[in-house]
């Protein structure tokens, strides 16, 4: 409508800028996140009894009560994830290194929370790129974790330079095995990976349950837990006195960069993307779909396994029953948000990690349960997956090129 009007006229710079901006997918992503937060805020208002009482007194009071609860929620979320700006300022002014470390600790703790998301996000995104829906990251994380823990206490007398990579790779290898099975079944028998990976999650779950209950159990513990990993297998911590920030974060960034390099700068990566886009065309072009599928699925599992290794060797140093933490689904969400780009995953993992890390403080200060984060994630995914909704709400222009919304290999794909 506006198009026909403006074509004849001379456009000024601002109009062009606005038009280009409204066509860009980055705009959609940012607006999706903002809209998610707005909806989350509305939910917080709706579920706070004090707001209703305030509205009962007068409309103005109700509005201010609504504003207060939302402001409190999001500000404590911010403080929980980045640290209190006021405290940081005071700490820097005093120049006391202990105070600075303490004030910055929430920030570093958020990075710790971000790290497993980086791994699993990259793992799922890699699968998506090849048209594979790896919903089994949860199981791969767990089985990789317990394998790394095993390697962490079994091999004694090694230097950390050998032991840490060894334990890490054992975790990755077992995670890779957990991804390899669904990949192999898919190409050999056509069994859909969504179901097989879910089943593999349960197999992993019961296997770990068994391992922790008997062979790997620390005999001194009442509640089943594995033994501690040896000091030589622990990931290096930068500020051991203040927080748990460890080198795993940088390993995860490196993995993301390596996966990006493989995907976009190598022939092999081209094959992966090509198979994901159109398996039939790739087959006629002479690519080996079988190998690509199996290897990608294995790599995806291996990277998810690293997330488990990272959590065990860097954070908890042992595995107890409660490692299950929804990485499987969260990582799907953040991979989609990043449009399956490994470097984009770094940004979305930071977003999710900081949200999750800050949510505890939010629950404490504002009385808003941490699960608001999941709701925000769901809204954001919805908006990203259906850009038409965002375009309608904000009256953005539809791009002339057909938009590629994120998608996974559909179930209809024929053999």
């Amino acid at each position: 409508m506006t198009n026909t009007k403006t074509t004849g006229e001379k456009k000024n710079f601002l109009t062009i800028f606005y038009e280009e901006l409204s066509k860009s997918s980055l705009t959609i992503i940012i607006l999706s996140i903002i809209s998610g937060f707005i909806l989350g805020g509305i939910l917080v208002i709706l579920t706070t009894p004090e707001v209703y009482q305030a509205f009962g007194r007068s409309f103005g009071e109700g509005l201010s009560a609504s504003w207060q609860i939302v402001a409190k929620t999001y500000s404590s979320l911010f403080i929980g994830s980045f640290g209190d700006p006021a405290k940081i300022k005071v700490a820097f002014a005093s120049g006391d290194s202990t105070a600075i470390n303490k004030a910055l600790s929430p920030f570093f703790e958020s990075l710790v929370v971000t790290t497993p998301y980086l791994f699993t996000g990259v793992a799922v995104a890699l699968g998506f790129k090849a048209g594979l829906f790896n919903i089994g990251a949860e199981g791969q994380v767990q089985i990789g974790g317990i394998a790394a823990a095993w390697a962490g206490w079994t091999f004694s007398g090694l230097s950390p330079w050998v032991h840490v990579p060894l334990a890490f790779l054992v975790g990755a290898a077992v995670g890779g095995l957990w991804g390899l099975v669904p990949g192999w079944l898919k190409v050999k028998t056509g069994a859909h990976e969504v179901i097989t990976t879910i089943m593999m999650n349960y197999v992993a779950y019961y296997l770990i349950y068994y391992l922790i209950a008997s062979p790997f159990r620390d005999p001194e513990e009442v509640v089943p837990k594995t033994r501690w990993v040896l000091d030589s297998a622990k990931l290096y911590r930068f500020f051991p006195d203040f927080n748990r920030f460890h080198i795993g974060f940088f390993i995860a960034i490196a993995v993301a960069v390596v996966v990006w390099f493989i995907l976009f700068k190598t022939t092999w990566g081209y094959e992966i993307r090509s198979v994901g886009k159109n398996p039939h065309a790739s087959k006629y072009a002479g690519m080996n779909i079988t190998t690509v599928t199996v290897v990608t699925m294995m790599l995806s599992g291996a990277i998810a396994g690293m997330a488990g290794a990272n959590e065990i060797l860097g954070v908890s140093w042992r595995q107890s029953q409660a490692l299950a933490s929804g990485y499987g689904f969260d990582s799907i969400a953040l991979a989609l948000l990043a449009q399956n780009h490994p470097l984009g995953v770094i940004l979305t993992a930071l977003l999710f990690g900081f949200l999750k890390s800050g949510s505890r403080v939010m629950q404490l200060n504002a009385g808003v349960p941490i699960y608001i984060i999941n709701i925000l994630q769901a809204f954001i995914i919805m908006f990203i997956a259906a850009p038409a909704i965002i375009r309608t709400i904000y009256r953005l222009k539809t791009p002339s090129v057909k938009e590629v919304s994120p998608s996974v290999a559909s179930l209809s794909e024929k053999k």
Partner: protein, 428 residues
């Protein structure tokens, strides 16, 4: 010389194994039988007895408990295994393989029971009754999946719809009573299904992404509201709905063994059987069913013949949501009488597996539901027995069997042809 002989030998082997997944499967069955005969039987005393208790309540006709010599029982089971294995190896069960695999699963577990319970007694009837109860959410969830997928829409949001249904059922059930609770659960499921439908039919969002989003939203929202309100002592009255008590069907419930298993249960068990029958008739014997299935196989053909693809798909989605919501209310209104955080515990995903295991057929998924239900009922029983092998490993069995079934059998017989693809109406 080498080059000439080598391919021939490989080809010979390949020819023998070609298209013969059943041979591998047969060998697998026989290996299981050999294991049972050599390892399990030999570790037992010749005089050890296993008792299956058959009476759990005072039915009019009491029948004596079944007591077997454990070794003889195991021998019979391993012979049965070998028989099935040989037939599978030589002829193959073809279409019935997935059924036979299910039976094999039961046989294997029965074998372990003979072994584990030798010298003691286990309540056989009780175990099967629990199996039927535990099969309820899985089967109903699978039916919901069938409704959606037969119309060409993939629904992995069953888990989310069930947990929301459980929540709505518990809260409304506490306020207005059980039946309004059930209705609320159904409406809740339909609401989420509507979101799924609008996203995947109108906005053509990838159906798996849309389903994932509903799952995350549902777990998030119910957990949020649970922590914010239901955990609070002030709001306890919102989470004490009570539950449907079992009621015995006259006469039928008096039949020994069968009676307590099938005819002395609560609403949800009866509803499960009715739904399975209704859906089977609906899908295969009515005009609606034909149209519904056409959406999943060839929507364009149906469109050409004047069937409204979008309306049929929306209807399928809503029905699927209603069934899933009803199935979800089982968790709160059918078992514990209150809502607990993440109380569905992944049953929605097992339901997906049951749907595929049952080959997108209502009756088949009932069978698959029984298999998973049996596995769950084992959990409760195994701790009571002095079980010689780790229970956790046995509990892995249904999932491993599902993987084998998917890899070995269902892999070839696929689900609805266009599942997962949005329909684009051609513009003139």
């Amino acid at each position: 010389m080498e080059k000439n002989t080598q391919p021939v030998r490989v080809n010979h082997f390949k020819a023998f194994m070609a298209g013969s997944r059943h041979r591998i499967m047969g060998i697998f069955f026989i290996l299981v039988a050999v294991f049972m005969r050599l390892v399990l039987t030999n570790s037992l005393d010749t005089s050890a007895m296993t008792t299956f208790a058959t009476n759990i309540n005072d039915t009019a006709i009491q029948i004596p408990n079944w007591t077997f010599n454990s070794r003889v029982g195991l021998d019979v089971i391993s012979l049965l295994c070998i028989g099935l294995g040989l037939y599978e190896f030589i002829r193959g069960f073809k279409k019935a393989t997935s059924l036979v695999l299910g039976i094999m699963g039961v046989i294997i577990v029965l074998g372990f029971l003979f072994w584990g319970a030798s010298g003691t007694s286990i309540s056989f009837t009780g175990m099967l009754a629990v199996m039927v109860i535990r099969a309820v959410p899985i089967t109903i969830g699978a039916l919901s999946g069938i409704l959606c997928e037969r119309a060409g829409i993939v629904n992995i949001a069953i888990e989310g719809m069930m947990i929301s249904g459980a929540f709505a059922g518990a809260v409304i059930g506490s306020i207005w009573g059980l039946w309004p609770g059930v209705l609320a659960a159904i409406l809740m499921g339909m609401l989420l299904a509507l979101i799924h439908g609008v996203l995947s039919i109108k906005y053509k969002v990838d159906q798996i992404i849309s389903g994932t989003m509903i799952n995350i939203l549902s777990t998030g929202l119910t957990s949020y509201l649970y922590i914010k309100f239901l955990q609070d002592a002030e709001y306890q009255h919102l989470n004490e709905s009570g539950f449907f008590k079992p009621f015995a069907i006259p006469l039928l419930s008096k039949i020994p063994v069968i009676g307590p298993i099938f005819f002395d249960q609560n609403l949800y068990v009866y509803a499960m059987f009715i739904l399975v029958i209704v859906l089977w008739i609906g899908l295969y014997k009515t005009r609606w069913g034909l149209r519904h299935r056409a959406m999943g196989e060839h929507p364009k053909a149906a469109d050409t013949l004047g069937v409204n693809v979008f309306r049929t798909r929306y209807l399928a989605c809503l029905l699927s949501g209603a069934v899933a919501g009803f199935g979800g209310s089982y968790f709160s209104l059918g078992s514990v009488g209150r809502f607990e955080q993440t109380m569905t515990a992944g049953r929605g995903f097992i339901a997906l597996a049951a749907m595929i295991f049952g080959n997108w057929n209502p009756v088949g998924s009932l069978g698959a539901g029984f298999l998973f239900g049996f596995a769950e009922s084992l959990t409760t029983k195994l701790s009571l027995l002095r079980f010689p092998i780790p229970a956790e490993l046995l509990l892995m069995l249904p999932y491993v069997i599902t993987i084998i079934v998917l890899g070995g059998v269902v892999g070839r017989s696929r689900g609805p042809a266009v599942g997962g693809t949005p329909y684009e109406k051609e513009s003139l």
